[in-house]
């Protein structure tokens, strides 16, 4: 559906000839065989876009790290089912809220880390302390807990209590991000290879080349189907796709529609939502009419159908289906270029400096066709009468604009963001992106903050309804964002592997769910 394998073109024979010449010159032709990303019959080969910088478990909120570590090398106390959204027991067998601030966890017995140390309440307390309360500045702390410190206590070998300063209805969900590590792990610095309880352990890491995992012989649960797993990394999407097509890898992640995976491509909704964040404190973006105009010029339907090849859904909120707080009847901003122009003209008539240059900032390779998307938006904004300049940045540069403290004297800018709520609850999104002082929010109102806080304190259906109602309010009263689309991801999968990707696969690819097709 995505693309035919290869189309012979007029340009190709010439190139083929040249390359052939070079080939003959170097005197090697080798029959297609096992070129080894590893493995053999009971091995699985996965190609990622980048090498994990580290496998430190408390950094597994980093996509590149988490996709390898989470639930493969290490495991949390409990995990969220990406389909149902329910929390399911893992290293904890049961849990309950024993007081408004305190949750008590019953831990699984007979589990040991791969270094032989037993997993018990002591170890769980150690891990949570290390990840959340220490000075390590772990990613998981920032992403999941903010600046909240937790009080952890090992009551007995299998009982653990965790107390938060304020009542926290979703504390177990938060704790599902803390991957348990052995008590022998350093508390003063991050480690490169974690010792966990998962179905796999690190066998061999040849930095720059490949990472091999082997199954954990002492694993407490079901033995996974593949004994060995090899990860390699290639930055170029078409090469990743080619590796699966060529039988050098079994699974390739983060592909674009045009990468040429052909029939091997599997698309799946991945929890990510794209949006433009408007720096609403900077003129002319401080005028709501301009922010509305930005919203009017984005033809979300057309983008989803053409540029995103029907793999994305137009969005009216920052979280997708399946997350607590999702509003199923999304209000999609209609495309109305004339209205946008009219709004800009009105603002100009009122003395708003609409001719100020507005920067449209994107991050290179953040999602497939981001440059094209940004070019479309720039073109439409220009037609509406705004002066918009595209700036594509590398990650570090773009993060300076995305995360507080924002750089000073930037002038007005529109920032392309992509948010993936890995946690399953809108609270994470709201705290970061909606609160007036949120780490990734440029602006808000006290009233909106109050509504957010109130919704977050609720539980159950009330929580869902209160949160879902916030999105329309944001669109109408705040208009900090122009939501664009709920995205999908594409992976290429060899027909020899049985695996069904889910919305969490991009962040947590469970090897135990994969098996050979027999």
């Amino acid at each position: 559906m995505l693309s035919p394998p290869i189309r012979r073109s007029r340009g190709l024979p010439k190139v083929a000839g040249l390359l052939g010449l070079a080939l003959v010159a170097s005197g090697c032709t080798v029959a297609n065989s096992e070129y080894v990303t590893g493995g053999g019959a009971d091995g699985l080969r996965i190609v990622l876009p980048q090498e994990p910088p580290t496998l430190e478990a408390c950094q597994s909120s980093l996509t590149a790290t988490g996709v390898v570590v989470r639930s493969n090398i290490t495991e949390p106390l409990l995990e969220r089912d990406p389909d149902s959204g329910e929390l399911e027991p893992l290293l904890a067998t049961e849990w309950e809220q024993t007081s408004p601030e305190t949750w008590t966890f019953k831990l699984r017995e007979g589990v040991t880390f791969t270094d032989g140390t037993p997993f018990d309440a002591e170890a769980a307390a150690f891990t949570i302390d290390r990840a959340v309360n220490s000075d390590l500045a772990c990613e998981v702390e920032g992403y999941v807990f903010g600046d909240t410190d937790l009080e952890v206590e090992a009551v007995d070998e299998t009982t653990l209590t965790v107390t938060s300063p304020e009542p926290d209805p979703i504390l177990p969900l938060r704790l599902s991000f803390v991957e348990m590590v052995s008590t022998k792990t350093s508390t003063t610095e991050k480690v490169r290879e974690p010792i966990g309880t998962g179905p796999y352990r690190v066998a061999d890491w040849q930095a720059g080349q490949r990472l091999s995992l082997e199954s954990n012989p002492g694993y407490w649960g079901e033995v996974p189907a593949y004994k060995n797993v090899n990860y390699v990394w290639r930055a170029e999407g078409s090469v990743r796709a080619a590796m699966v097509a060529n039988g050098e890898a079994d699974i390739a992640t983060s592909l674009a529609p045009e990468d040429g995976a052909g029939e091997l491509a599997v698309a799946y909704a991945n929890n990510e939502t794209t949006a433009l964040r408007m720096q609403a404190d900077q003129p002319p973006l401080d005028d709501i009419r301009i922010r509305q105009a930005v919203n009017y010029v984005i033809d979300r339907k057309l983008l989803a159908e053409t540029l995103f090849e029907k793999l994305a859904q137009p969005a009216g909120e920052l979280i997708p289906d399946g997350i607590v707080g999702y509003e199923p009847d999304e209000q999609i901003w209609p495309y109305d270029a004339a209205r946008a122009k009219q709004l800009v003209d009105e603002a100009r008539a009122d003395g708003v400096p609409v001719d100020t240059e507005i920067r449209l900032i994107g991050r290179n390779a953040q999602f497939p066709r981001i440059t094209e998307t940004i070019e479309v938006i720039q073109g439409e904004l220009a037609k509406a009468g705004l002066n918009v300049k595209i700036e594509m940045m590398d990650t570090n540069a773009q993060l300076e604009y995305q995360i507080r403290p924002f750089p000073k004297d930037t002038g007005p800018y529109l920032l392309m963001i992509m948010h993936g709520n890995q946690a399953g609850d809108a609270a994470f999104t709201l705290d970061q992106y909606m609160l007036a002082e949120g780490y990734q929010s440029s602006w808000g109102t006290a009233e909106f903050d109050q509504k957010i806080r109130a919704a977050e304190a609720l539980v159950g259906q009330e929580r869902q309804d209160a949160m879902a109602a916030l999105w329309q309010y944001e669109q109408e009263e705040i208009t900090q964002y122009a939501y664009i689309a709920h995205m999908s991801a594409i992976m290429a999968k060899s027909p020899n592997v049985s695996y069904r990707p889910n919305s969490a696969s991009g962040d947590e690819m469970r090897l135990a769910e994969m098996s050979p097709v027999s």
Binding site: G11, E258, E372, G379, I390
Partner: protein, 311 residues
Amino acid sequence: MSATLETPLEAPRSQNPKLLTLLLKDKVATLAALVLCFVFLTAVFGPMLVAEQAREQNLLNANAEPFTLDGGWLNFLGTDPLGRSVLARLIVASRTTLSVAVPAVLLSLVIGSLIGMWAGYHRGRRETVVMRIADIILSFPSLLMAVVVLYIFSPSSANLVLVLAITRIPIYLRTARAESAELQSRLFVDAARTFGTKPTAIIFRHVLPIILPTLLTVATLDFCFVMLSESSLSFLGIGIQPPSVSWGLMVAQGRTYLQTAWWLSFFPGLAIVITTVSATVLASWARLATDPAQRWRLTLPRHKRGRKEVK
């Protein structure tokens, strides 16, 4: 003693018409010159005609196949993922491409050659210092320089020119220095010294004209290199920024579509190839044509040219 014969002496002035006739005798070089003229004219006037069409998006007609007139003649070379005319974009891109490549090459050519000639002519410590500076620039990762310059200043064409020019200066510096060091020991340079000619004047009168053809050959090769570097910067996301468009950017952006829409990167790539091949052909012709000792070769039919010299 005072013979006054009326013979025209303005030899250099009478050379230009001669060059043109020489050029017309060489079909390949003429073709190359025509192609270059065409490219330059396109770069100058093309954008006036099709700037609007190059911007015009039509997502419903994205990645349309080339070689059909169904979408109008502008879509004859297909459309890009935003449904813009590849042909119109090629035309608009020619200006950006040349306005980056030509100044970058000229800047590095002028600066590198001047310093190189100066160092080679004077030799000694000046030469050593200059060569070590060339080493510094050469061993400095141009990519880092690009990232830094484009980070601190915005990635505009001017800054791109700056980065590319700086990284290419050592090439001319080394070439010019080597040749100039050799030339400064020649007898006709000594002769000029005996007239009391100043070093600068000698460099411009005797050194420059002789090494200019070599430098120009290097420059045409570099012209190609600069376009490719610009493309590589785009590959890494720090080149020309859309909605501006250059051939290099088109190739880089189109590469991901090589299997589904080969025309996106093929045509701009072809434009780069044709332009640089033409420049190279013309440069090697000019090298012969401006060298009085070699010019006679151009008056021979092409297939005989080489034979004569090896017999």
